[in-house]
C-alpha cells in the first residue's frame, strides 16, 4: 500500500481473494440448512407418547391408545397455518381409504379450541381431533410448528415423521417401509 511495488500486485491480491471467496461459497453452498423447525424426531422406534382429550367436533373423549392395532397418523395442525389447510384433502383420503389400516388423529397446536373447531368444520374433517391446551402433547412429540405428523405403527411405536404438509404418497411410503421392517 505504500509506494509503487511491482506491477500485478492488485492482480495477485484479487486472485487470492477470489480463491478464498470461491472456497467460502463452495462451503456455504454445500451446507444443509441447520435444523430450524425441522428437527428430526428421536421418537422413532419408541412408543408414541399418549395423546387424548375431548374430540373438538363431537365432544366425546378420544385417545390415541384406542387405535392400537392400526396405523395412526398423528397430525399436528393449526387453523392459521397455510400448509395445514393444503394438506386437508390428503388427510381426508387417508382417513377414509381403509379405516382398518390407517386412522388419522389430529392435534391442534398453538391454536384456540374455537378456531381449531371452526377450521375442522370448514375443511370437512371428520376424524378425531383434540385440542392441546397445555401443549403437553406437542411437547411430548417435540412439535414446535405445525404442520407435523407422526406415523404410529399398530404396536404403538412411532415409525415415521413428516415435516410439513402431508401427502398420501409420503404416508404410503412410510407405511410400506414400516411393513418391510416387520411392523
Amino acid at each position: 500500500m505504500t509506494g509503487r511495488r511491482g506491477p500485478g500486485r492488485a492482480l495477485v491480491a484479487a486472485s487470492a481473494a477470489g480463491v478464498v471467496v470461491l472456497a467460502l461459497v463452495a462451503v456455504l453452498a454445500t451446507r444443509h440448512a441447520a435444523p430450524g423447525t425441522s428437527v428430526p424426531s428421536n421418537l422413532g422406534g419408541r412408543p408414541a407418547p399418549p395423546a387424548a382429550g375431548r374430540d373438538l367436533l363431537t365432544g366425546r373423549r378420544v385417545s390415541l391408545a384406542e387405535y392400537r392395532g392400526r396405523f395412526v397418523l398423528v397430525d399436528f395442525f393449526a387453523s392459521w397455518c397455510a400448509p395445514c389447510q393444503a394438506e386437508a384433502p390428503a388427510l381426508e383420503t387417508l382417513a377414509f381409504r381403509d379405516r382398518r389400516e390407517l386412522a388419522v388423529f389430529g392435534v391442534a397446536v398453538k391454536d384456540s379450541a374455537a378456531n381449531a373447531r371452526a377450521f375442522l368444520e370448514r375443511t370437512g374433517a371428520t376424524w378425531p381431533a383434540v385440542a392441546d391446551p397445555g401443549e403437553s402433547i406437542a411437547l411430548a412429540y417435540g412439535v414446535a410448528d405445525p404442520p407435523q405428523s407422526f406415523l404410529v405403527a399398530p404396536d404403538g411405536v412411532v415409525v415415521g415423521q413428516i415435516l410439513g404438509q402431508v401427502s398420501v404418497a409420503a404416508v404410503d411410503r412410510l407405511i410400506a417401509a414400516a411393513r418391510r421392517a416387520g411392523a
Binding site: 505504500t2 481473494a17 462451503v27 440448512a33 397455510a82 398453538k110 391454536d111 375443511t123
Partner: protein
C-alpha cells in the same frame, strides 16, 4: 384482492427496473443520450410498483386480510395497530419487501440527483448496477420469497400473530428499518465502485460524490445496530446487549468495513492514494451485507434471528458470489493500472494513522468473519459440530478495540503528509494528561482490572483529543465571525462528535462488562434484599389478562423509589411464556430485573437481578455517533483551493453536494 394488487405492484417494480436498465445500457452502447435520459421515468415506475406492493401489504396487515399466507402467519385480530404495521418486517418475505422499497428509494434519489449526468458512463453504469440489484430483489418476491402468496383454501378466521418477542417493545418497529436503511444504502457506493472500475475512471472523485450516501448508510447502520442491542437488552432478559450471534456479526461486519472506508476515503480525497483499497472496501461492505443476509436467512447457521425454511438461500449466495467475484475480477483486471502515483511519505502522518486504522478495522472484520463462518468450514471438512463463542471474539475484540481507541486519540492530532518533530507532543499533551488523570481517578475510586483501566484511560485520551479538535474548530469559527456551533458542522468536526460518541460507548461497554453483578433472588411479598447496593422490595404478585395476552407480574420497589414490574406473559395463541424484564435505568447504573419464576398462587417470585454500571451511556453514545454522522453529512467549510481536489470536472459542482463539489 390484496394478493393480486400486491403481485401487480411487484411486477411493475420489476418491469420498471428492467426497463431502466435497458434504456441506460442501450443509451451507452448505442451512444444515444435521449435513450439514457428516459431512465429516471422507469426508475419512478419501479418506485411506484414498490410503493404499491408495500401499501397493499400494510393494508392487508392492518385489515387482517388472512387470505395472504404472510398475514395469516404473522398477524392476528388482536395484534395492536403498531405491531400490525411493523408486521411487514417480522418475517422473511415482508422483510425482503422492505429491503426492496428502501433500495428503490435510494436509487430514485440517485437518479434524481444525477439525472442530467446520465450520459456519463460512470453514472449510467452505476445506476445499472444498482438497478440490477433491485431486479434481483423484485424477482425474489415473484419467486421464492413471495409476500403475497395466497393462503390455500378458505382464509382462516384468525391468524397466528407475530412472534411474541416481536410484539412487546416499540424498538422493534424501528430497529429493522434502520438496519435495512444502512444495509441497503451501501448499494449506491458499491455501484459507483463497480462503475469506476469498469470504466477505468477511478481517480475522478465519483467516490467522493457517493461519500454522503456511504455516510448516511453508515449512520443508519450504526443506529440500527445500537437499537438492536438496546432491544435485546430490554426484551431478551439475559441482561446483555451483544452476544456475537451470527446475525449481530452480520450487521457488524459491513459496519467495520464501512467505517474503514469512511476514514480511508479521506486519504483518497486529500492525497489521491488508496484508490483500489477504497474500492475493495466498498465491494467488501456490499458483499458482507448480502453474506450476512444469506447466513441468517438460509438457515445454515443457528441464530436467534434465523428465519428457517426459506428458499432464498441459494439466490442470496449467488448474489454474494457475483458481487465479490465481479469485484475481484474488476480489481484484478484494472487494479494495477489504476494505482495512484505517490505514496505515504511518513508513518507519523494523518494518512499513516488512517492506514493503521484501516488495518485494524479490516483485521477486526476478518476476525469476526472467521469466527462466524469457521464452524461451517469445520463441519464441511470433518463433519464436526462446533461453535465459536464469546471468548474468541472477546480475546480479539478487546485488544483491537483498545488499539482503535489509542489511534483515535492520535490521528486527529496528526497533520497530513508528515508531522514536524514536536507537533504531536504539543498537541497531545493535554489528552495524555487527561488519560493519566482518568486512570488515577479510577484507581483512586477503587476500580481494579487491567482491561477496564486501560479502556477508561484510552477513552480519556481519545475523548480529550476529540474535544480539543472541536474546541479548535469552534475557536476558528468564532475568529471568522461565525457561531462557534458551526465548528461542529462538516466532515472533520462531525467526525470528532462521532469519536466522542464512540468514546462514550467504549466507557459504557468497559464498565458494564467489567463491573456487572448478577444475583438470583427468591422473594415473598414484603421481603427485601440487597444487590450491589440496591434495595429491592417485593410489593406484590399479580396475575393479569387482556385480549392479547395473559400472565403474571411482580411489583418490585427499587431503592424505595419507583416500582418495576418484571412479568411473565403468554401471548394469545402461543404456548411459550415470555419473560419481560423491567429495568431501573440510571445515569450511574441499571438494575435489571428479569423474571425466572412468578407464581401468583404461591406468592413467590424468583428474579434474576443484574446490576451493571453505565449501561445507559451505550445508548447515549450511540445517539451521539448518529448525531456526529449527521453533522458530518452536512456541508462544512469549503475546500481550500490548495488541496488537491479529486474532482476534475468543475461543471459537476452544481450537480454535487457542496462539500464535494465546491471548487471555486
Amino acid at each position: 384482492m390484496d394478493g393480486v394488487i400486491g403481485h401487480v405492484g411487484v411486477a411493475l417494480g420489476l418491469a420498471g427496473a428492467l426497463a431502466a436498465i435497458v434504456a441506460l445500457v442501450l443509451g451507452q452502447v448505442l451512444g444515444r443520450r435521449a435513450l439514457g435520459a428516459t431512465a429516471p421515468t422507469y426508475v419512478a415506475v419501479m418506485v411506484l410498483g414498490g410503493l404499491v406492493a408495500a401499501g397493499v401489504m400494510e393494508h392487508a396487515l392492518v385489515a387482517h386480510d388472512f387470505s395472504l399466507a404472510f398475514v395469516a402467519a404473522n398477524n392476528s385480530r388482536e395484534t395492536p395497530l403498531l405491531f400490525s404495521v411493523t408486521g411487514m418486517w417480522s418475517a422473511l418475505q415482508g422483510s425482503i419487501l422492505l429491503w426492496t422499497i428502501i433500495l428503490s428509494g435510494y436509487l430514485a434519489v440517485l437518479a434524481l440527483r444525477l439525472r442530467r449526468r446520465l450520459d456519463d458512463a460512470v453514472v449510467a453504469w452505476a445506476l445499472v448496477v444498482g438497478l440490477a440489484v433491485a431486479v434481483f430483489f423484485y424477482a425474489l418476491m415473484l419467486g421464492p420469497a413471495d409476500p403475497f402468496a395466497a393462503t390455500p383454501g378458505v382464509p382462516p378466521p384468525d391468524g397466528a400473530g407475530p412472534n411474541p418477542l416481536l410484539q412487546d417493545n416499540t424498538l422493534i418497529a424501528f430497529h429493522p428499518v434502520f438496519l435495512y436503511l444502512g444495509y441497503v444504502g451501501f448499494t449506491v457506493p458499491f455501484a459507483f465502485a463497480v462503475a469506476s472500475l469498469a470504466t477505468g475512471r477511478v481517480g475522478e472523485g465519483w467516490l467522493a460524490a457517493t461519500r454522503r450516501f456511504a455516510l448516511v448508510a453508515w449512520m443508519f447502520l450504526t443506529v440500527g445496530i445500537v437499537l438492536g442491542a438496546w432491544w435485546s437488552y430490554q426484551v431478551l432478559g439475559w441482561g446483555g446487549f451483544w452476544g456475537w450471534d451470527p446475525v449481530e456479526n452480520a450487521a457488524f461486519l459491513p459496519w467495520l468495513t464501512a467505517t474503514a472506508y469512511l476514514h480511508s476515503v479521506m486519504v483518497q480525497e486529500r492525497r489521491g492514494l488508496l484508490r483500489i483499497w477504497n474500492l475493495s472496501l466498498l465491494v467488501a461492505t456490499f458483499s458482507l451485507t448480502i453474506l450476512g443476509t444469506f447466513l441468517t436467512r438460509s438457515g445454515v447457521v443457528q441464530s436467534v434471528h434465523a428465519f428457517s425454511d426459506s428458499g432464498i438461500g441459494p439466490a442470496l449466495l449467488g448474489l454474494f458470489a457475483a458481487a465479490v467475484l465481479g469485484g475481484v475480477v474488476l480489481i484484478g483486471w484494472r487494479g494495477d493500472r489504476l494505482r495512484a502515483p505517490g505514496s505515504i511519505d511518513a508513518a507519523a502522518s494523518r494518512e499513516g494513522a488512517f492506514l493503521v486504522n484501516n488495518l485494524l478495522f479490516a483485521g477486526f472484520a476478518l476476525v469476526v468473519l472467521v469466527g462466524t463462518v469457521f464452524p461451517l468450514f469445520v463441519q464441511a471438512i470433518d463433519g464436526q459440530q462446533l461453535t465459536i463463542g464469546r471468548p474468541y471474539f472477546d480475546a480479539f475484540g478487546l485488544p483491537i478495540g483498545l488499539a482503535l481507541l489509542f489511534f483515535m486519540a492520535i490521528a486527529p492530532a496528526l497533520p497530513w503528509r508528515k508531522a514536524a518533530p514536536g507537533v504531536l507532543r504539543r498537541r497531545l499533551v493535554v489528552p495524555a494528561w487527561t488519560a493519566v488523570a482518568t486512570v488515577a481517578a479510577c484507581v483512586g475510586a477503587g476500580l481494579r482490572g487491567l482491561a477496564p483501566l486501560l479502556a477508561f484511560g484510552l477513552a480519556g485520551f481519545a475523548g480529550a483529543s476529540a474535544l480539543r479538535q472541536l474546541a479548535l474548530a469552534a475557536a476558528a469559527a468564532r475568529r471568522r465571525g461565525l457561531s462557534p456551533l458551526t465548528g461542529l458542522v462538516g466532515r472533520a468536526n462531525g467526525g470528532m462528535v462521532v469519536h466522542l460518541g464512540v468514546v462514550v460507548v467504549a466507557v459504557g461497554l468497559a464498565a458494564a462488562s467489567s463491573f456487572g453483578q448478577r444475583a438470583e433472588l427468591t422473594l415473598r411479598p414484603g421481603q427485601s434484599a440487597r444487590v450491589d447496593g440496591h434495595e429491592l422490595t417485593l410489593l406484590a404478585v399479580r396475575s393479569f389478562s387482556d385480549p392479547s395476552r395473559s400472565g403474571s407480574e411482580a411489583l418490585v420497589r427499587v431503592d424505595g423509589g419507583g416500582v418495576f414490574r418484571p412479568a411473565i406473559d403468554t401471548f394469545r395463541g402461543d404456548t411459550e411464556s415470555v419473560g419481560t424484564p423491567s429495568i431501573d435505568s440510571g445515569a450511574l447504573d441499571d438494575v435489571y430485573l428479569s423474571p425466572v419464576e412468578i407464581t401468583p398462587g404461591r406468592q413467590v417470585v424468583t428474579l434474576d437481578v443484574v446490576v451493571q454500571p453505565l449501561v445507559v451511556w451505550l445508548w447515549i453514545g450511540g445517539a451521539l455517533v448518529a448525531l456526529g454522522a449527521l453533522l458530518a453529512a452536512l456541508p462544512g467549510r469549503r475546500r481550500r483551493p490548495t488541496d488537491p481536489a479529486s474532482l476534475l470536472f468543475p461543471e459537476l459542482a452544481e450537480e454535487l453536494p457542496p462539500a464535494v463539489g465546491a471548487v471555486r
